[in-house]
Subunit: 353 residues, 2 copies
Amino acid sequence: MSAGRVRKEIDGALLDFVDRQRPGVLAISDQLAPMLTALDELLAGGKRLRPAFCYWGWRAAGGEDIEAARGIAAAAASLELLQASALIHDDVMDASDTRRGQPSVHRRFEAAHREQGWRGGAAPFGEGAAILLGDLCLAWSAEMFEVSGLDPESLRRGRRVFDLMRTEVICGQYLDMLEGARGAGTVDDALTVVEYKSAKYTIERPLHMGAELAGGGPQVVDALRAYGRPLGIAFQLRDDVLGVFGDPTETGKPAGDDLREGKRTVLVAFTLERATPAQAELVESRLGDPALDAEGVAQLRTIIEDTGALAACEEMIERYTAQARSALQVAPIAAEARSALAELTVAATARRV
Amino acid sequence: MSAGRVRKEIDGALLDFVDRQRPGVLAISDQLAPMLTALDELLAGGKRLRPAFCYWGWRAAGGEDIEAARGIAAAAASLELLQASALIHDDVMDASDTRRGQPSVHRRFEAAHREQGWRGGAAPFGEGAAILLGDLCLAWSAEMFEVSGLDPESLRRGRRVFDLMRTEVICGQYLDMLEGARGAGTVDDALTVVEYKSAKYTIERPLHMGAELAGGGPQVVDALRAYGRPLGIAFQLRDDVLGVFGDPTETGKPAGDDLREGKRTVLVAFTLERATPAQAELVESRLGDPALDAEGVAQLRTIIEDTGALAACEEMIERYTAQARSALQVAPIAAEARSALAELTVAATARRV
C-alpha cells in the first residue's frame, strides 16, 4: 500500500541520516552515547505526519515518486527532526513526564543523574540535556534538508517555506505559553495560537514546502494551502480534545495532562465563554494545577461537556474538516495525490490517535 | 582602522537581518515584541569574535574585502546568532542571572511574568521564553547563512564546516555539563570539553568556514586550523581564569560565577591535581554551591593560587598562544590577514575582557 511505502522511505532516510551522524558524535566522546540513544528512542515513535504532507505536496505539484526522485524522502524527513526538537523542548517547558508513552527526554536524563548519584540537581541536569538534544535536532533538521540531495534550485524554493515554518512554530509556542500565563483568552486568541503553533506547522507549511520543492506554480500552491489551513486547525482541535478526553494508552500522555499544564486551548476558551460563574470559578481554580488528580480531571471534563464546549469543538472540527475536503476535491492535482491526502485527512483528525 | 570597519559591516549585516525578520514576527502577533527586544538587547553587546575570525579566514584564503564582496558580512555575522542561541540556552542551564552585564534572557521574562502577576510559575515562564528565543536564534542563524548572498558553491563548501561546528558546540556543552555532574575529571577530560565547547567553535571552525567560503585550498585551511586550534584553547583557558579572577564590571558576570556553577574547568582540574587532601576536600565541598558567598569565592581563589594551578594555567595559555603565533607567522596568507589575526590573537587572550 502506498502510505506504507512512503512511510518506509521516510523512515529509511531519517535513520540513515542519524546513522551517518553517529560516528562523528561518538568520535567527540563516547560519553555522548546516551544523547544518541534518547534520540533513537524518540524517533522510533511518531506518525511522520509532517514528512507525509510534505511528500504529498511534492507529488501534488508534479514531483516524481519517492522511489524515483533523489532527495525528496530526506528533505521531507528533515521535518521529523524539527518536530523532535519541538517535542523535546516542549516537554521541558511543560514539565511533561512522558512522550509517546515513554519517559520524556529530560526525565530520562534526570533519572540517569539520580541513578549515578552525580553532583548537583538531577532535574536541572535532565533539563539541560534535553535543551541540548533539542538544539541538536534543530541543527540537524537544517543540515538534513540541505544535504538531502535535491538540486540547489529546488532547495532554494523550499527553503523559504522551511524558514517561515520554523519562525512560525517557535513564535506560536511562545504565544501558547503566554496565553497559559495570562489566562482569560478568547476563542480567537486560542485560534491564533492554534494557527501558528500547530496548524500551519503540521499541515499547511509541509504541503507548501513540498509543492515549492517540486516547483509547483501558484495555482497548486494556493489550492494545497486552502486545503491545509483548515485541516491544520481541525488537527489541533482534535489534539486538544484528545489531550482532555483521550485514552492515555493511545495518546502516550497521562489523562488530562493538558489541563494540568493549564493549556488555554480553544476547548477551554469555549468552556469559559459558556460557563456559569460557578463553573468558571472552578475551571479557573483547577486549570494549570500540577497536582490535579483523576477526580479533578473528571470534574473539569464534566464541565467541558455540560457547557456544550466539547460539542462546539467537535462541530468546529467537523466544519474545518469539511472545508478541507471541499478544497481537496477541487484542487488541480493528480488523482494519486488527492487520494493519499484524503487518507491523511482522516489520520489527522481521527478520534483515536 | 580595519578592525572597526569590519565590525561595522558585520554589525550592519546582523541588524539588517533582524530588522528584516521583525515585521513578519510582529504580523504573527504584537505580543511577540518582548522576544525581539530581548534579542536586540543581547545583540547590542558582544565582541563579534566568531564573525571576525570567519571574515579573516575568508580574507586569508583570498576572499575579497568586506565592502567589495557580496554576502561575506552576512555569512560571517550568522555565527553571532548561533552564539546568541548558545548564550541564551547556556544561561538557562547554568541558572545565570546576568549576561553581558544585563539580566539574562530567562531572568528578564521571569521578571515580566512577576510584574504582570501572571498565572503559574514565573521561573518556568522565563525559562520557556529563553528556550524559545534560543531556538529562534539557532533557526535564524541557519537562515541568515543561507540567504547571505554568497554563491551556492561557496555556501556548499562553507556549510559543511557550519554543520560540523553546530554539532561540536552542542556536544561540547553536554560534555561540559556532564563533567560538572560527574566531578573528579582530569585535566585531559577538561581539555576535551574546552576543545569542543569553545576552542573549535570560537576560533578554529570560524576560520575554517571563512576559508572554505572563499574556496581556499587545503594548504591555507590547514595553516589556519594550526593557528586556530591552540589559540582557541588559550582563549577558553583565559575565559576560565576570568570566570574566577575577573572583574565583574568587565566580564558582565558576578565574581566567581563559574565556581558557584561548579564548572569543571582546566583551572579546577589543575587545582585538584595539586591540592593537599584538606584543600581538595574544601574545593569539592564548595564548588557548585549556589550559595557560595564572597568569602567562599576568596577562599577558593586562594587555594587555586596556592596550589600553583593559576600559574600552571597561565603558563598553558602562554604556551598555546605562542604556538598559535608561530603557526600564524608561517601561514601562507596575505600580510593584511596576518596582521588582523595577530590583533585578534591579543583580543582573544587578553587578561582583561
